[in-house]
């Protein structure tokens, strides 16, 4: 506990010092944009140094010996621990918590939206709640799977002892709590009402909570970049002997591709937000028309990150689902190489489609057709990934387990998400559908139906590996059905109201939309209640569940060949990979040579 207390204290001291110094130097109020900025920066440094960057790392820069934290047991999770498995669990618990919090905010919004007219949220509060829900959920989708399973599984799956840069990895995680604190304390400064997209000119002129949004999101971007850098380097340099690129488990490929994307383009989100911060705090005029600026510039910079970002969210989800499907269908992964090509096709195309978010923004019309065509072309590599999933399921010996049930829900949802995306990519229909609930429904089908389903399915599938215990299978299956049905009941009606013109991001709507909205609100509460079952099952099973077999699925990839949970530094012996990971049912096929301690000494 001590490092955490030290981090909180130093973070607060840093914040107060930064804000106070700013006021002392230039006057003004301690809650204006400049003071908050310097306060946040110093507070962030204080927090990091307190949690362990100083002890475990920065001391070396001054020629002092590093003092890594020695905590054991559950206290490891509250310290600057460099074990990738600890960091993976930290990410998993953090982002499941954020997911539940963001979901709770959605329930408050659905309560207000249950009837037309104003019930208990004024329009301004509604917009702020909607913005908070948005950014929390975006963060969960971006970092949930990559942070949790990327960290936990990538070194295990490639036969490495840890990530390439363990301390950078620990720092990536410990950058997250200040992000959450910054976002959740934004209401103290008037919160932010510009959605998660933070479009100027609103985001330049609204209340001071927007500055905390900007600083928190830039910090989150830094965490994503460092995390991506770590995964790319780990996969490129730390594979076990025999683990050639053609033998990489499909989740590793997915995490690698998403990390390359995240590493590069996240800077554009940082850049666009830095420019807004300069407009607010340094008097520049990038996005303000009166000084010659142009708000469209923001949209270009922002979507150059934020469209590929949905592929940062969904590529790791593809990896998780293909792992689950191939292990539980007991068949070789269908068209492995084609699927990998599909991943890279998505990475390549994803940076060339951003302006499809801007068809109605007033940008040059000559850009409409090329961006429409490129956007629709991205369905080809995505289709290749689906080909792999369906081909693997086809005539497989399906094992009826919760993760596979969720995989079927995922296939259904993501298909709907993909097909409805065509109408938004198409200029003619998008001009009608943009800024309606059709967009909301489509986006939730891809990101909740795609990414969050995979996060949940993965949390069941690797639960026995992470905890050493088994979750309750029947409750798991009940939840899988509950989640899939509940999710569809909420969002199918929203397509209908969207097509008929109900605007998103507005607290009220005409009487005409009352029926479907009431239905969606009731369904949302049913869906929300289901998560009690999810959290209850996993929390109870983690403490009291029956001990799990090290390899309950009979899976071949490396992480399942170790005890549960795997020991520190993972492998007692350097594993030797001799074959493809997914050759189920092929006589004589082997993925890893037997790891027997032939006179080897313990690590």
């Amino acid at each position: 506990m001590r490092p955490l207390i030290r981090a909180v204290v130093l973070g607060l001291v840093g914040y107060v010092a930064g804000a106070w110094l700013t006021v002392a130097v230039r006057g003004g109020s301690p809650s204006d944009d400049v003071a908050v900025t310097f306060g946040f920066i110093l507070g962030l440094i204080g927090w990091l140094m307190g949690i362990g960057v100083w002890n475990a790392w920065a001391r070396e820069w001054f020629g002092l010996p590093a003092k890594p934290d020695q905590a054991t047991g559950w206290q490891r999770y509250l310290t600057f621990n460099t074990d990738h498995k600890v960091i993976g669990v930290q990410y998993l618990v953090t982002f499941i918590t954020v997911l539940l919090l963001g979901g709770f905010m959605a329930l408050i919004m659905r309560w207000e939206l249950a009837n037309p007219g104003q019930d208990f949220l004024d329009p301004d509060t509604y917009n702020k709640l909607m913005s908070m829900h948005g950014i929390l959920m975006i963060a969960t989708a971006v970092a949930g799977i990559l942070g949790a399973f990327g960290n936990y599984l990538v070194p295990l799956m490639i036969g490495a002892r840890d990530m390439a840069f363990p301390r950078v990895n620990a720092m990536s995680f410990w950058l997250i709590p200040p992000v959450a604190i910054g976002l959740l304390s934004a209401p103290l400064l008037g919160s932010f009402d510009s959605g998660w997209t933070a479009y100027p000119p609103l985001s330049v002129v609204n209340e001071g909570g927007q500055v905390l949004f900007i600083l928190a999101v830039i910090t989150f971007g830094l965490s994503s970049i460092l995390g991506g850098l770590n995964i790319v380097t780990t996969v490129a340099t730390m594979r076990a002997p025999g683990m050639s690129w053609g033998r990489l488990p499909i989740f590793v490929w997915a995490a690698f591709a998403a990390s390359v994307l995240s590493l590069l383009i996240t800077q554009f989100f940082a850049a666009s937000l830095i420019l807004i911060l300069l407009d607010r705090a340094a008097g520049t005029t990038f996005f303000l028309a009166e000084g010659g600026g142009d708000a469209l510039l923001y949209q270009h910079l922002f979507w150059f990150y934020s469209h590929p970002a949905v592929y940062i969210m969904v590529l790791p989800a593809f990896g998780v689902m293909l792992e689950i499907i191939t292990h539980l269908a007991r068949k070789p992964l269908f068209a492995y190489k084609v699927v990998v090509a599909g991943f890279w096709g998505i990475v390549g195309l994803s940076v060339a489609v951003w302006a499809h978010h801007m068809f109605t923004s007033g940008m040059a019309e000559s850009l409409h057709a090329p961006f429409m065509a490129l956007t629709e072309a991205i369905s080809i590599p995505t289709g290749l990934v689906f080909l792999g999933a369906l081909g693997t399921l086809w005539q497989g010996r399906l094992q009826s387990k919760t993760p596979l049930w969720l995989a079927f829900g995922w296939l259904f949802n993501f298909t709907i998400g993909g097909i409805t995306g065509i109408y938004l990519a198409d200029v003619a229909t998008d001009i009608h559908l943009q800024d309606t609930y059709f967009v909301v429904a489509h986006f939730h089908y891809t990101i909740v139906g795609g990414t969050i389903f995979a996060l949940i399915a993965g949390s069941y599938f690797w639960f026995p590996k992470i905890t050493g215990r088994m979750y309750h299978e029947r409750l798991g299956k009940i939840f899988a059905v509950w989640l899939t049905v509940g999710f569809n009941l909420v969002f199918i009606p929203l397509f209908w109201v969207g097509i008929n013109g109900m605007n998103r991001r507005i607290a009220d709507y005409p009487e005409f939309f009352a029926g479907p909205n009431a239905f969606a609100s009731v369904a949302a509460y049913i869906l929300g209640a289901g998560f009690l079952l999810y959290a209850g099952n996993l929390l109870w099973s983690a403490r009291r569940g029956p001990a799990a077999d090290p390899n309950p699925w009979g899976a071949r990839t490396l992480e399942w060949q170790l005890p549960s949970p795997p020991p520190e530094h993972n492998f007692p012996l350097l594993p030797e990979v001799v074959g493809h990971p997914y050759d189920y049912g092929i006589p004589g096929s082997v993925h890893v040579a037997p790891m027997t301690p032939e006179g080897g000494e313990e690590a």
Binding site: W61, F62, G63, R161, A164, F165, V168, I225, L229, N230, V232, T233, T234, A236, T237, M238, L263, L264, I265, T266, Q267, F268, A270, A271, S272, I274, L275, L278, D279, A282, G283, T284, T285, F286, G291, G292, G293, D294, L297, H300, L301, F304, H569, F571, P572, L573, L574, E576, A593, M595, T596, P597, E598, G599, G600, E601, E602, A603
Partner: protein, 190 residues
């Protein structure tokens, strides 16, 4: 064949460590390139190729020479320690830091002059402030990192077969110089 655990892992670690460090650093540069690219593209999108007459081109050219010169001294610092020449390391790192500081002072002077003519409230002034600020911040962090390495060097750290700290910081310094080589024409020549 199963190698003994500790020995095999240590051998693998020793082989992959320099590769991992270098790759990680280059990936960081790739990422930073995107950050600079965003700011540079913002300049062309919002101001086109317009530039004010009042820009002090001779001063900026001189600063470019100073910064490029500092890359040479940084390179000499790295080769010095690679050959076990600690005195050379300290001398050339000190020169690099001084040139870096001279650059920062010069840019600060130019900036103070320039915003008289095109303040941040104009669109070119916004771009000028953002790009100079972004690059200046990188130079500043580079100077700090060089100072950390210099202090470690004077205390006897780094050997001819173990000078990753020097190598990493010097490579970062080259990257920051290269960024200026792109930013200089972006702001002053177009």
């Amino acid at each position: 064949m199963a190698l003994s655990a500790g020995a095999a892992h240590e051998r693998a670690e020793a082989l992959s460590r320099p590769r991992a460090n270098r790759l990680g650093l280059w990936l960081f540069f790739a990422s930073e390139t995107f950050l600079f690219a965003a700011f540079i593209s913002a300049r062309f999108v919002s101001s086109g190729t317009y530039k004010p007459e009042e820009l002090n081109q001779p001063l900026a050219l001189f600063l470019t020479v100073v910064l490029l010169g500092s890359s040479i001294s940084a390179y000499l610092a790295e080769t010095s320690i690679a050959h076990g020449n600690r005195q050379g390391l300290i001398r050339y790192l000190s020169i690099t830091i001084l040139l870096g500081l001279a650059f920062l002072v010069g840019v600060g002077f130019e900036f103070k002059e320039a915003i008289e003519y095109f303040p941040p409230e104009t669109i070119y002034g916004s771009n000028f402030l953002a790009l100079i600020g972004l690059h200046g911040f990188h130079v500043f962090t580079g100077v700090v990192a060089l100072a950390v390495v210099l202090r470690l060097g004077t205390k006897g750290h780094f050997e001819p077969d173990d000078y990753w700290g020097v190598e990493g910081v010097v490579k970062y310094w080259h990257f920051v110089d290269l960024a200026w080589v792109v930013i200089f024409p972006t702001l002053y020549l177009f």
